[in-house]
């Protein structure tokens, strides 16, 4: 009886349930993307040949279907792709003639760097403005802070990106993204210049919700007993704000940052397009247009894995911030 209870406990332990939920989420996403891609009209042949597909004879189309592997049953196509994905090759891109792994190797670091810069800038701006606002609720500074949050939420990324690009190019004749993309290890200074503005655009998008969350979390914490005690004990106000109030308000801020990081991966698609960054967003967009099934499926899966990883990371950070969660 005790053995069964132990087994049940093991089966329903947080680690096992979390792993199971991650696995089923990823499996669900892989099946969903696979099906959606096949439901929408068009296939790799129309994506590759365009209107010239009309020139192809039925025999040629049949040969091409075999070549692209779309003559197999849907189950076989799924199994074949998932095998390739799990083997690490991630499938094959017919239009470029290389494995999706090779494409991803050059595109993924770009998107991760962009998302990290966006997140870091967003968190710094969001927390700073949130603290600035929460210090005197209802005051002009609070109004200004909230206005920043509202504007940052309201201005679409593509408008801000286009505006920055146009002004910088027309007024300052400055558009470093027009040059060949440089990785941080090839040319760190050029990479910084190419990432600065897209990172800022994404950062502003992250800053708005982080700012609002920070403000409300701070206002809630600032009235707590331990804060009053700290003040009463004569702890300097800045130390109270950072060590007592901010630290105890971090959980909702971390949650919001984790969620925003996921959205950043999506937002990066349009920012990468306008700033000509060869990242994962462009990779998936091009692949959808060309109906490169393996590239789309693998790229979406990588996005999903990143999203799930950030969630796990967020959980781990909770434990660090609030030791009570460990229990």
């Amino acid at each position: 009886m005790q053995g069964i209870t132990r087994l049940q406990r093991a089966l329903f332990s947080p680690f096992v349930t979390k792993t199971f939920s991650i696995f089923t989420t990823l499996l669900g996403i892989s099946v969903f993307v696979f099906i959606v891609l096949r439901i929408i009209p068009g296939n790799t042949i129309t994506g590759s040949f365009g209107i010239e597909t009309g020139v192809l004879t039925p025999q040629q189309i049949s040969e091409l279907r075999h070549y692209y592997g779309i003559d197999q049953s849907l189950i076989m196509q799924y199994v074949s792709w998932i095998k390739s994905f799990l083997s690490g090759q991630l499938g094959y891109s017919f239009s470029t003639g290389v494995s999706v792994l090779k494409l991803t190797k050059s595109a993924l670091p770009v998107t991760i760097e962009l998302a990290l810069i966006g997140t870091i800038l967003g968190v710094i701006m969001g927390i700073a403005v949130g603290m600035f606002s929460a210090r005197k609720p209802g005051s002009f500074r609070d109004f200004a802070g909230q206005l920043f949050g509202l504007l940052a939420l309201a201005i679409p990324g593509f408008v801000l990106s286009t505006g920055i690009v146009t002004v910088m190019a027309n007024v300052f004749h400055y558009f470093p993204n027009g040059f060949e993309y440089m990785t941080p290890w090839e040319n760190p200074w050029m990479n910084f210049q190419q990432m600065m503005f897209p990172g800022l655009v994404l950062g502003i998008a992250v800053a708005a919700p982080v700012m609002r969350t920070t403000r409300s979390a701070l206002l809630e914490t600032v009235d707590k007993d331990f804060v009053r005690t700290a003040h009463g004990k004569g702890v300097p106000p800045r130390k109270v704000a950072l060590k007592h109030v901010l630290r105890n308000s971090l959980i909702p801020i971390v949650t919001m940052t984790g969620i925003q990081f996921g959205y950043l991966l999506g937002g990066a698609v349009i920012v990468e397009k306008i700033f000509a960054l060869p990242g994962m967003g462009r990779q998936v967009l091009d692949a959808i247009t060309k109906r490169e099934y393996a590239t789309v499926q693998s790229t979406v899966m990588i996005f999903a894995i990143l999203f799930v990883s950030v969630n796990v990371l967020t959980d781990l950070i909770y434990r660090k911030i609030d030791p009570r969660i460990k229990k």
Partner: protein, 503 residues
């Protein structure tokens, strides 16, 4: 605190200035031209190339037997001269000597034979196969290549131009390396392709004409046209092709803009095989309710030319020779009455905003105009691949299409409007009259006879309101001021970069 702020402001400004200063020297690199393109190339086999990006990039690397010049005249290319027999069933091409492939091997008539036979081989899936399908046999006689045709077809000469008719090395064809390695006779050599980022070419010092002045041409992928214009303004890109008239209007005096009327055209395709569009009166009502001038004015900011079915300059349709040269709502309503729809009707229209920069604006303009006649245009917005797939299956009532034009009406329309044409299902219309007229146009070597045939074809298409031909857009090439010697071609080819130089 104030000092800190000052330091921060000075620091940011210095970084920005340093950024400008650091990126500036690269643009001064003399003979290296950077071309901004929105889409990546998608293959390395020139005979299978269909996307504009691939056609433009590989068009600088490969050569064809004839070339189409700035005035749309057919000029010698890798064939130095040619002659037809009197019946128009045999074309003899004299092949240019002393031409080399980029790997150093000589270009010979055997390469011409192998290249044409590769295009004709269905297994190649060559884009130009339908255009030269009348070639019965290819024979080599010394430095001549003889093309025997199944029917009289003088229109075939112009069909030998372009990257889809690229001349390949027989050795490469035999080795099966086409599409994997790049070896042409064009003015530039292929250096590298970084998928999603750039395609690099370098000048071919052994080019059969004068070697190019430019050392390298790099096609850099910048997916947004407005970002390309920014890169042109900043000097990080020196040349680009712009399709969006609104972006083209923003080109300042610091850049050179070449506006060339395109051979391509925008049309509202009507599927005459589907009710209610199988009723000619419904189609005529649609045609009469539309002011093409208004579409150009509102959707294109006035940038475009109203056209008839045939855009080929030598055979261009008369835009006044149609049932309603300008919008006539009263006449449109009469046609609707005659069709049995006195209270109007609703028709779906498929449009792919990604297919053409102003596609959505054109759709909205048409919708607003047709509403005045009681016709509701129900717009279905789809992505490019969905559009192509449904278009090929003729799975639409009407479609707003941006179709390519050719310098000869035969290669432009035979595949659409003859009963055996491979895109006839898409065109939705054919008739014995059209079949006979196309056969006449194809077979005659007499320009007057050909002009008459294409005039009658145009009349038949317009009087039956087969489609509503709207306008030809302009194609804009935008270049930095220091690019000299470039001549734009209406075919969209960038071949004349072979004569350009960066001063």
């Amino acid at each position: 605190m104030r000092l800190r702020k000052k330091i921060a402001v000075v620091g940011v400004t210095a970084a920005l200035v340093a950024g400008v200063a650091l990126v500036a020297p690269a643009q001064a690199a003399s003979k290296d031209l950077v071309v901004g393109i929105t889409l990546d190339i998608d293959k390395l086999d020139p005979q299978g190339a269909t996307s504009f990006a691939t056609v433009r990039a590989l068009g600088l690397v490969y050569g064809s037997l004839v070339e189409v010049g700035p005035k749309l005249d057919v000029r010698p290319g890798l064939a130095s001269s040619w002659r037809f027999n009197d019946a128009g069933t045999r074309l003899t091409l004299h092949i240019r000597k002393n031409v080399k492939f980029q790997d150093g091997t000589p270009f010979t008539p055997a390469d011409v034979k192998a290249s044409i036979e590769r295009i004709l081989d269905p297994a190649t899936k060559a884009a130009a196969r339908a255009n030269i399908a009348t070639i019965k046999s290819v024979t080599v006689a010394g430095w001549d290549v003889i093309l025997d045709l199944t029917i009289p077809n003088v229109a075939i000469l112009a069909a030998l131009d372009g990257v889809n008719m690229a001349m390949l090395s027989a050795k490469d064809i035999k080795a099966g390396t086409i599409g994997k390695t790049v070896n042409g006779t064009g003015p530039f050599k292929f250096i590298s392709w970084e998928p999603g980022q750039s395609v690099k070419l370098a000048k071919n010092a052994t080019y059969w004409q004068k070697a190019p002045q430019l050392d390298t041409v790099t096609f850099r992928i910048i997916p947004s046209e407005s970002s390309i214009l920014s890169a042109l303004n900043a000097g990080s890109v020196q040349f680009s092709v712009i399709t969006d008239p609104l972006i083209a209007k923003q080109v300042g005096s610091n850049l050179t803009k070449y506006s060339t009327p395109s051979l391509a055209y925008m049309a509202l395709q009507l599927n005459a095989k589907k009710a209610p569009l199988d009723n000619v009166n419904v189609r005529l009502a649609i045609q009469c309710a539309i002011s093409r001038q208004e579409v150009v004015k509102t959707a294109q900011s006035g940038e475009g030319t109203v056209i008839g079915p045939i855009t080929s300059p030598a055979y261009r349709s008369d835009i006044n020779d149609r049932p309603c040269p300008t919008a006539d709502i009263a006449k449109a309503k009469k046609y609707l009455d005659a069709a049995g729809y006195p209270n109007g009707l609703t028709i779906k229209s498929m449009v792919a905003p990604s297919q053409f920069a102003t596609a959505s604006a054109v759709a909205q303009s048409l919708k607003a105009q047709l509403a005045k006649a009681g016709i509701t245009l129900d717009l279905e917005l789809v992505d490019d691949s969905t559009f192509v797939s449904r278009w090929l299956a003729a799975d639409f009532a009407t479609a707003i299409a941006n179709n390519g034009g050719r310098i000869d009406p035969d290669t432009m329309y035979t595949r659409y409007f003859t009963s055996t044409g491979n895109l006839n299902k898409v065109a939705g219309y054919s008739s014995p009259t059209l079949d006979a007229l196309f056969a006449k146009g194809k077979s005659s070597g007499n320009v007057t006879t050909r002009k008459l045939a294409y005039k009658l074809i145009s009349e038949e298409l317009e009087s039956n309101a087969v489609w509503v031909w709207l306008f030809s857009p302009y194609e804009y090439r935008v270049a930095s001021k220091n690019l000299v010697g470039f001549v734009p071609l209406a075919t969209g080819s960038l071949l004349e970069l072979r004569k350009a130089d960066l001063k």
